[in-house]
């Protein structure tokens, strides 16, 4: 499902045109490539989109391929404590206590659970920037270096950020960090460089169980809209009125 983000009408138009002109599988493949690169679809129009991400907790197996793909794709420092996305493991015990861990963001795998006897339930929770519709990080940035793109993606302008770190303080989700080499705030971009080419974020692409569903929030016939229609959806820290656009299915109340 790597073509979710493409303007479908343009894509189909190109497809039909190509088939009419020449037909044959070779040309069809060429059009597909062209469309995926945004060439056939025309220039990327951010105002035509409103992106969000759906995450199904029940499907996440904690393999952290998403974390690895994200680090490789996005110039995220490989050392620990810098993550655009990470996996948390929750262990709920019969006595009501909760253990949470995320060793190296889940990248190195999770160790065995201590004293398994009293475990009630366990599950993994992928975390990333929520690309809030009402983002506190954008509100506090003194120079407007972090901003909301028209397609609803919260981005940071590397060449403009002064590195004051106010946005990192303002993010309730711990989704931002100061890039140790660039000395600017860094975070998940929904792989914006891929979006403009009609591709989905790397984490979505590699997820082996389809726990991550990327797409348009508003449009009806998209995988994300379908995901939101057929699941009970919750967001993180709704009381803060940040209006997150990371939509969780099967989210436990213990997750913060």
């Amino acid at each position: 499902m790597s073509d979710q983000g493409i303007d479908r009408r343009a894509f189909v138009g190109d497809l039909v045109a190509a088939c009419l002109a020449a037909g044959g599988p070779v040309l069809l493949g060429m059009v597909r490539v062209a469309a995926a690169q945004g060439v056939g679809a025309g220039a990327y129009d951010p105002s035509a989109h409103d992106y969000g991400i759906g995450i199904d907790i029940a499907k996440c197996i904690g393999c952290a391929r998403c974390v690895a793909a994200c680090k490789a794709e996005n110039d995220v420092p490989m050392e620990p404590h810098y993550f655009n996305t990470w996996i948390e493991r929750y262990v709920l015990r019969t006595d009501g206590t909760v253990d949470v861990d995320s060793p190296n963001g889940g990248l190195d795998g999770f160790g065995p659970i201590e004293s398994e006897g009293d475990v009630l339930r366990t599950f993994f929770v992928p975390k990333l920037c929520n690309h809030c519709a009402n983002p506190p990080c954008v509100q506090v940035c003194p120079v407007g270096a972090t901003f909301q793109s028209p397609d609803g993606v919260v981005l940071v302008d590397d060449s403009y950020c002064i590195g004051c770190r106010y946005c990192i303080q303002a993010c309730p989700y711990g989704a931002r960090y100061l890039h140790p080499e660039k000395h600017v705030a860094a975070k998940c971009t929904f792989c914006y460089h891929r979006l403009v080419k009609g591709l989905v974020p790397a984490c979505v692409e590699v997820c082996p169980t389809g726990a991550r569903v990327f797409g348009e929030v508003e449009k009806r016939a998209t995988p994300l809209a379908r995901f939101m229609r057929f699941n009970d959806i919750q967001v993180l820290k709704p009381n803060l009125n940040t209006k997150p656009k990371a939509y969780y299915a099967n989210l436990d109340g213990e997750v913060r």
Partner: protein
């Protein structure tokens, strides 16, 4: 580390340098408000500290943005805050509030207050000094009674503008923290008010210490009426400050929101020394009791009538303790607010570096620098009552 913290929270974002920023701007605002007591509210007793307080405010205000600049990832881009400020950002307003306070309030007030003396110093000096003072007059050398009366009324008006400006300067610093809803330790509507009153407390305490030390080193006699008045105001400000802090504390405990468990752990473990011992006991309770007993705050002459020499020592001790307490308040806000995870599931630690741009050595440097600037300012513009030049211009 204890419990769970988000992976990106391992690195503490705001270090010791950012502790300095509210501490220093607090001293600026407090010193200025003390100065305004004499000017606007006609508290004659504190007149010996009027000019000293103004120069102190200026010296600290010059240093205030330096720790911020040193902390930025890209200090060379900081001017963007003036060129393209994000109007929704509290921090973006810093540059404007600072510039307003420095240029419009403090420098102009000092200039009007000193203009007569600067003109006289220019006339009485020779060589480079003469030209320096002439430059400072900005060409306004008229010492007619009418001109001096204008100086006086202009100075008064600027102080009247200056009081809300000083409130703005420091209340706004509190707002920077208080408006962060993501952080339950910071997010409080009381934050700007608490910051403001702790600023007044710290400013009065600082000027009290400076007045005592400078008077001693100049081998002059300390004006006890002035010192008693300072101690009295210090006591009142401390009462208000402690009440507000208590209100904030009780309110949090009573509401017992989701964050109460982790914040209780924070106070009981990581902040025990800096909050319970330094801020509460050393910085608040001991000075409060000492000033209540000895200063004329509650009873004329104090409950315990001490000889002036001993009273001076009590005041000095209380003021120094208060400084330790106020610095701890800033530490507890800035560092304390980053020692717990926003997942509300764990605590982290902050290790102060010794060297390096955000280290202890740098911090101490930034704390000494205002005193060096103040020393220079005092040499150029002596603030003492006995150094006001005699007006021989009218006879010459």
């Amino acid at each position: 580390m204890q419990g769970y913290i988000y992976p990106n929270e391992f690195e503490l974002q705001w270090s010791l340098l950012i502790v300095l920023y509210p501490y220093i701007t607090g001293l600026v605002a407090g010193a200025f408000i003390l100065a305004s007591l004499e000017r606007v509210f006609n508290v004659r007793e504190v007149q010996p500290t009027y000019r000293l307080a103004l120069l102190t405010a200026l010296a600290f205000l010059i240093v205030a943005p330096l720790p911020l600049m040193a902390h930025l990832g890209h200090p060379e881009r900081s001017f963007e805050m003036f060129l393209t400020p994000n109007k929704r950002s509290a921090m973006a307003m810093f540059g404007f509030v600072y510039a307003w306070y420095l240029m419009v309030v403090l420098l102009i007030e000092i200039w009007f207050d000193y203009r007569r003396d600067i003109v006289l110093w220019a006339r009485q000096s020779t060589g480079v000094k003469r030209w320096f003072y002439y430059a400072l007059t900005l060409g306004a050398t008229d010492l007619s009674p009418k001109a001096l009366a204008f100086d006086d009324s202009a100075g008064r008006w600027i102080t009247i503008i200056g009081i809300p400006s000083a409130f703005l300067l420091h209340g706004y610093v509190g707002f920077i923290f208080g408006s962060i809803k993501a952080n339950p330790w910071w997010s409080s509507v009381l934050m700007p008010v608490v910051f403001l009153f702790s600023a007044i407390v710290s400013g009065i305490a600082l000027v009290l210490v400076l007045y005592m030390l400078t008077t001693m080193f100049r081998w002059r006699k300390i004006d006890m009426a002035c010192l008693d008045k300072l101690a009295q105001f210090l006591f009142y400000a401390l009462v208000v400050d402690a009440s507000l802090e208590s209100l904030d504390f009780i309110h949090r405990l009573y509401e017992a929101e989701e964050s109460i468990d982790i914040l209780s752990q924070l106070v009981e473990t990581r902040l025990f020394l800096s909050l319970i011992v330094l801020q509460l006991v050393i910085g608040t309770l001991i000075p409060l009791i000492a000033l209540a007993l000895t200063s004329p705050g509650l009873r004329k002459g104090g409950f315990v009538r001490l000889p002036p020499e001993l009273r001076q020592l009590v005041y000095l001790g209380a003021a120094v303790f208060i400084q330790i307490g106020i610095f701890s308040i800033r530490w507890n806000v800035v560092i304390g607010g980053q020692l717990f995870s926003k997942s509300l599931r764990g605590l982290t630690v902050y290790k102060v570096e010794l060297l390096g741009i955000e280290g202890l050595a740098m911090t101490i440097g930034f704390l000494i620098l205002p005193f060096i600037i103040l020393w220079v300012l005092v040499k150029l513009l002596p603030p003492w009552l006995d150094s006001v030049p005699q007006d021989e211009a009218t006879t010459a």
